[in-house]
């Protein structure tokens, strides 16, 4: 997985703001559920198994 390259161009801040906005008004449990759905959707959007697994590994060890 390419976690070296930033790929969002000029949209990064906007996308980050939209991500936060998704959570507005949700309880902690609702937010966690939303994050789970989001991960599943993005896993499918990435598609390729090796890239998904690389992301799993990176997320598991943020300071790896």
């Amino acid at each position: 997985m390419d976690s070296a390259t930033y790929r969002l161009g000029l949209d990064g801040d906007e996308i980050y703001a939209e991500l936060l906005a998704l959570h507005e008004g949700l309880s902690e449990a609702e937010s966690a559920a939303l994050n789970a759905r989001l991960v599943l959707l993005l896993v499918n959007a990435v598609g390729e198994r090796s890239r998904v697994e690389a992301a799993f590994a990176a997320a598991r060890r943020p300071k790896g």
């Binding site: 790929r7 980050y16 991500l19 959570h23 507005e24 902690e28 990176a58």
Partner: protein, 521 residues
């Protein structure tokens, strides 16, 4: 180095109260901060007289704005003070970001050469105002600066405005055809007119200090998340001229500001921030920040500019920089209307264009402030995990938002509809990029009036001033080949591919952009 010495400006009893001859100035400007002063100078360059009143008689007390962006410096240069500011200021373009002890990211705001002005300078607001006052004095016939003169009342009719001014010698009425409200974030005029700011107020407090220190810090912007010397918060360090450093420390919403402000609490934090170097405290102040604006900037004959019209949090340095761009946009339009060359409808384009630009500043400043002080546990979680990822995963680093530094607003899509045939990187509404030219710079040759830039092509017969450049130049790279109609504020009004425009097309574009009522002289 001595600290800044405030030299009060002389108050002179106004002719309205002494019975001397009263001058007829079409524009009254309230507020001699950076915005009011810049407006008076820009109007004077267009030959329009103004009276500027300010309740104080010294420049900005405390330093407030320090970071001035490239576009602002280009405007200051057009006004005749840019070079002096750059000479005195600390030029910088690199920002470094730390998380805890570690540097996680750095950015270069101006990676290319061939621009007259640097990405940023740091210069205390009191110097900026001092230089603007000096420059204003070059126009004794056109700029009447009146200190210790406070606006206390205001009336407007279809034909003009009357401001009631209070002075040490009593009150008088000052009449003008238009009034620029440049009276700052607590604007009296806004209150008198019953207008309200709309937007967001942030809870966290920020402690802002200027310290004097002989140190060997590089001329860079340093920003920390969770610095070892200020656990759990953010901190920002900037270098200013005269061995002065600006330090911003974020405080918890629950912190007691009065306690935090005490030198015995401030000094140890700063000591740690500067690694034990000796320093003295020059100025400390506490702020909460807002991102707000007026719904409209033009209210009949009263026009708001600068902090009276909009206020943003300082992360990104968009406050003063935004206000100077207001002036750049407004002055030529107001001058044309006052001189009877343009219809008053032209002022509506100031409202439309600067409201758009202000929203861009508000959006960016709000996002940065949110990133620093997350509003909910979930926002904090995302922020903290992004910072954690950034240590090893470069993709996350540019997403860290410690302030997106002021960039010139593009008015693309917000200016009068116009041909867009240049085919290069610039389009109508964009500010003109700079480029080297004949040992000087392109922007020194543009602006102040409508003009044509012909790159790699010939200009048709026109009454406009024309600047013709070859197609083998940095300018050609930055603009593309073609004809570019440039507004007095150095923004592209229209563009055409080579050979696409004749005299009539150009004339029509000038008319659309200028609401012109008179033929070109």
């Amino acid at each position: 180095m001595p600290r800044y010495t405030y030299r009060p400006f002389d108050y002179v009893a106004p002719p309205e109260l002494t019975g001397g001859p009263v001058r007829d100035a079409p524009v009254v400007i309230v507020g001699a901060g950076p915005i009011g002063l810049a407006a008076a100078i820009d109007l004077a360059l267009h030959g329009v007289a103004s009276v500027v009143v300010d309740e104080s008689d010294v420049v900005s007390v405390g330093s407030r704005a320090i970071c001035w962006a490239k576009r602002t410096l280009e405007i200051f240069d057009r006004l005749g003070v840019g070079e002096r500011m750059v000479e005195k200021g600390v030029t910088w373009k690199v920002g470094r970001l730390f998380h805890g002890e570690r540097e996680v990211y750095s950015f270069d705001l101006l990676p290319e050469d061939g621009h007259k002005m640097p990405a940023f300078i740091n210069l205390q607001q009191y110097y900026v105002e001092e230089y603007l006052v000096d420059r204003a004095r070059d126009f004794p016939e056109l700029i009447d600066l009146r200190w210790k003169s406070r606006l206390v009342g205001l009336a407007q009719t279809e034909a003009g405005v009357t401001a009631t001014i209070e002075t040490p010698d009593g009150r008088y009425d000052l009449a003008g055809r238009y009034l620029i409200a440049a009276d700052g974030s607590r604007s009296t005029i806004r209150h008198l007119m019953g207008l309200e700011f709309e937007g967001t107020t942030f809870e966290d407090r920020f402690l802002i200090a200027d310290v004097e220190m002989t140190a060997d810090f590089p001329s860079e912007r340093w920003f920390w998340f969770e610095p070892p010397f200020h656990p759990g918060q953010t901190a920002l360090l900037h270098k200013q001229p005269d061995d002065i450093y600006r330090i911003d420390l974020q405080l918890d919403a629950s912190a007691d500001p009065e306690v935090e402000k005490r030198p015995e609490n401030v000094i140890p934090r700063i000591e740690k921030a500067v690694g034990g170097r000796p320093f003295t405290l020059d100025w400390v102040s506490l702020y909460t920040f807002r991102c707000v604006r007026l719904a409209r900037f033009v209210h009949g004959r009263v026009i708001f500019a600068g902090d009276s019209a909009h206020v943003v949090s300082p992360f990104g340095a968009r406050g003063g920089n935004g206000g100077i761009q207001d002036v750049d946009n407004l002055a030529w339009k107001l001058a044309a209307v006052v001189k009877g060359e343009a219809d008053a409808a032209l002022l509506e384009t100031y409202d439309r264009e600067r409201v758009h630009a202000t929203d861009e500043n508000i959006t960016n400043s709000s996002r940065s402030t949110n990133f620093m002080s997350p509003r909910t546990p979930m926002e904090r979680l995302f922020r903290d995990q992004l910072l954690a990822l950034a240590e090893d995963h470069p993709f996350a680093r540019p997403m860290i938002n410690s302030g997106r530094l002021s960039r010139p607003a593009s008015l693309r899509g917000h200016v009068a509809a116009a041909p867009d045939g240049g085919g290069g990187p610039v389009h109508p509404g964009d500010p003109c990029p700079d480029a080297p030219l004949d040992g000087g710079f392109l922007l020194e040759r543009l602006g102040g009036r409508f003009s044509l830039l012909a790159i790699g092509t010939a200009a048709p017969a026109t009454l406009l001033p024309v600047l013709t450049l070859g197609s083998e130049s940095l300018a050609a790279e930055r603009y593309g080949r073609g004809l570019f109609l440039v507004r007095p504020d150095q923004h592209i009004a229209a563009s055409w591919a080579p050979g696409e425009a004749g005299t009539a097309e150009i004339d029509a574009a000038v008319e659309a952009a200028s609401a012109r009522t008179k033929e070109l002289a």
